[in-house]
Amino acid sequence: MSSELELLLQCPLAEPADDGFSHRVITRIAQDRNRTAKVRALIELGLVATVLALAPFTSIGQMMEKLAADFIASPLVSSAAAATAVAFIALRVIGEFTDSQQT
């Protein structure tokens, strides 16, 4: 086998310059991730809506109704629920801000 040909075959590949390629890949990944998150949120919403729609017709629904009434009446539970909701929203906002900074 010709040594000239052997040398050519061992030569490193010509690598194209980045020219924004990596940025385009990461942007597409971020878009992909957002789309997946939206679909997941829609599915979750659909499930919750279905459960809420069917709940009044089941004995579990009636039990939940009674429990919910008791819970709402408790100021401690109401405060904890509000704090959880605020913390959840804040974490989500911070997460989205961090993601947008990364891309």
Partner: protein
């Protein structure tokens, strides 16, 4: 951060900035490989490279540290290329094109190598590139191309023979 640190960060926390650094690290090699596989079609090679990194991101949790990350990337790139080649019916060129030799400058010779490579079957081209320019062993190339080591060896040897014939017009004495 080293490659291993970036990898474990991307896998364990889904850290996009770590993955972004890995993309920057490997984009040149992956695009160069796909450029050769698509016989110089820059647009198609870039599309395939983008799909490769997207799939790598989606499946990063499945990466097992039993081989190099680059090998795993090339495996995805190769399977993406095969899918597209089947879909678009990309066929290797026939052997009628004349290959000049003897008086070229270095860059001409490289250009000629690309032209000669373009005439090989995709598996020969891939095996020669992985075992030559990219420095993988036959066993690693077999893992990337999902074929037995013996098949890789025969692709490499047949590819070399054909290249020799294209360059010098004679069979190689191996």
């Amino acid at each position: 951060m080293s490659e291993d640190e970036l990898l474990s960060h991307a896998i364990s926390t889904g850290d996009m900035s770590a993955f972004s650094a890995l993309v920057r690290m490997y984009q040149g090699r992956v695009r160069g490989f796909l450029l050769r596989m698509t016989r110089g079609d820059h647009a198609l090679a870039d599309d395939l490279a983008q799909e490769t990194f997207l799939e790598a991101w989606r499946k990063i949790g499945q990466f097992r540290n039993d081989g190099p990350f680059s090998g795993w990337l090339f495996r995805i790139a190769w399977s993406r290329f095969l899918m597209t080649a089947r879909k678009r019916k990309l066929e290797p060129l026939d052997e009628t094109m004349e290959i000049a030799s003897g008086t070229e400058t270095d860059s001409d010779t490289k250009l000629t190598l690309e032209a000669a490579m373009a005439k090989l079957a995709p598996a020969e081209r891939a095996a020669l590139t992985l075992c030559g320019a990219l420095g993988y062993s036959n066993a690693e190339a077999a893992g990337i191309l999902s074929m037995p080591v013996g098949t890789v060896k025969s692709h490499v040897s047949r590819g070399r023979e054909r290249l020799h014939k294209l360059f010098y017009g004679t069979e190689a004495n191996t």
